[in-house]
Assembly symmetry: C2
């Protein structure tokens, strides 16, 4: 019947619910309202590009979660989530992008009907989809409830991946390698950037073998030359040029699971400062991978990277990585741990990160990055297997 | 120097600032903080996939707007916005996805420094990127300010397009036609959905002639059969099948300007109920186009569409369109006017809509839609020029 519910075992979904409910108990949360589409999908399997209207999953300590969303999307929930029909609670289209009504008015009535009028309700205060207006409307409509911040409560439960999830990320890694291989192979002076990205997308979506490619939570980035001084410029119609460097930051995606990966191509002869930066960066990556071990801390990776960079006179001033896995736009990070000096989170086996020490100077950008898995013992496993270098095409 | 600032004339940007400032005055707003990336781009030209962290444009009654965002994205602002360096106000990476700090703490200090500690500050309460936490943090940090809801203040100024904007949308329309042509031509039993979308993306990004294709704010939708009962399911690796209907809902995009467009393909012989629905839908579309005239109201279009559908026993229960133009994920609508019975907004020349009366039943979905322009006189102009029908491939 459903398309994606079978993607994971029932035991896997039960594991997820159990972890999340334990975290709710610890924080004294009676009912959790989750609007983050990644969290919705992780808990229920729900998958669709419907997050541009308000929707969410309601989780209590017992029974199935509820899916709540726009009426026309209930069929999408029927086809993708493992929930029974009784657990779908849609609202009418008159609430959609209306100046007279807000969907949270509907949600408040539903929560009251479920017996949570005076409950302690957890909401994701820092999230793209739970707007300021959603919060104030919910406050107005449920004056007797206690609405508390449960930002990232579910995200933290996602940090350690199951074997079933790692299996998806390994498939995504094969797609990422294919995308990078194609980009490096095709890059040449005169090639229009949009034409190159067209081929990257084509590689991504065609996938590898039976594994079809899904859309990435961030579009492929591939700025060249001085445009690459800015990490988040998307493509345009300009051509690749001799003497310019282009970095490719992209992700292979298998059923919403992301494995981000970056490599850089130089057309012509790279200047000495880039070659020195490359050497320091690769040394830093390898030092970081070596300390990315269970029992060490997130900051240990950042500090190991920083040392050879500092020796080379490079101060990055930005975090060098974040957790990865199941994601929807606009971000493929999980927004919990950050690989930076002040983050002392202890690394656990099964955690997955994009170790992402991009270098951006006023005249060029250089990205050599690795998606990694923290193992039971030993240094991190790199999901992708490609030379850790800047590719030079003379 | 910059990549996109030259995309529009200086007069065009001045027009936009003037309109927005007039609306601010009307609402007694001293300073406007705009976090919606479409609004940021419309006012300043700023373009980049950096909206997954907090950023915004600060607009007062005088001088250049300020760009505020993450330090690493300031170079992106330098390369895409028409602003001078003095107008860029970046914050440090320690504010990014931190549990200890929030970027709004930085913004509050900046607003106070600019003299707005006790001002009436407009914010976009109902927006994807201005989170509930952003709002409460700003309230906490600026206790003497009056923080008021300016949701869609800028969006409403965008409703009537300039000739420069229409020029972009017409280019996007050529790309949309190419995408639909390719999808219909390639659709055949046995073709994997992801492979079809790979070609659609390739067509989209390669663009038409000199006009390179940009990424869409919503990925192409093309569900088949019963999956098409759900409007927002994205693709998977299944094959197209004889006896099934597939709708294509997609947008051509030229420099962030969207022209969404949909057509439907049936492989085999469509059932009678679909053919009747198709006939009623086409009649409704043409009736709607005919009343989509300056001086009429948004609801007139919805009511004209509803009549033939009702005669055919079809009740849609959803709005049938929304304004379109400059957009970033997750939505290509402008979130102001809705084409529905209760919306009495008067149509003005230069307004642009996606007239989008999708039909979704439990066993099939049918989409024949038109992006349209309200003209000075006469019925609406359809941006795309393709037969208004379900395409049947026996």
């Amino acid at each position: 019947m459903t398309r994606n519910a079978t993607a994971f075992s029932e035991a896997e979904y039960q594991r997820r619910l159990k972890r999340t409910r334990a975290a709710m108990s610890e924080q004294g949360i009676d009912v959790l309202f989750v609007e983050d589409p990644s969290n919705m999908a992780w808990l229920t399997g729900y998958d669709g590009w419907s997050f541009y209207v308000h929707q969410g999953v309601i989780l209590t300590q017992e029974g199935e979660p509820f899916w709540w969303g726009r009426n026309m999307d209930a069929n999408g929930a029927r086809r993708t989530a493992w929930l029974s029909d009784d657990s779908l609670r849609p609202y009418g289209d008159e609430y959609v992008q209306s100046t007279a009504r807000h969907p949270m008015q509907h949600l408040a009535v539903l929560l009251a009907d479920l017996g949570f009028e005076r409950a302690r309700i957890g909401v994701e205060m820092e999230n793209y989809y739970f707007s300021a207006k959603a919060y104030t409307t919910l406050l107005d409509c449920l004056p007797q409830a206690q609405i508390v911040d449960a930002t990232a409560l579910v995200n933290w439960q996602r940090a350690v991946k199951s074997e079933e999830e790692l299996n998806f990320m390994r498939r995504a890694a094969r797609i990422a390698e294919k995308m990078i291989d194609g980009a490096i192979e095709r890059a040449e002076p005169g090639l229009h950037k949009n034409e190159l990205v067209a081929e990257i997308y084509r590689d991504a979506l065609r996938g590898v073998g039976e594994d079809w490619g899904d859309y990435p939570a961030i579009v492929p980035m591939c700025p060249s030359g001085a445009d690459a001084s800015a990490p988040h410029l998307t493509w345009d119609g300009n051509t690749l040029k001799t003497g310019e460097c282009t970095f490719f930051e992209l992700a292979g995606v298998y059923r919403r699971y992301h494995t981000p990966f970056s490599r850089t191509v130089f057309l012509g002869t790279p200047p000495d400062d880039m070659k020195r930066a490359e050497a320091a960066l690769v040394e830093g990556l390898e030092a970081g991978l070596d300390v990315a071990r269970a029992g060490n801390r997130a900051c240990d990776i950042a500090n190991a990277l920083a040392k050879p960079l500092e020796s080379a006179g490079i101060e990055r001033g930005a975090r060098c990585g974040y957790p990865i896995g199941l994601s929807y736009p606009p971000d493929w990070g999980e927004r919990t741990i950050s690989l930076r000096a002040e983050d002392e989170t202890v690394l656990e086996p099964g955690m997955t990160f994009h170790f992402m020490p991009g270098l951006w100077t006023p005249t060029w950008g250089l990205e050599i990055t690795e998606p990694i898995l923290i193992r039971e013992s030993g240094p991190a496993e790199a999901f992708c297997n490609r030379p850790r270098q800047m590719f030079v095409k003379p």
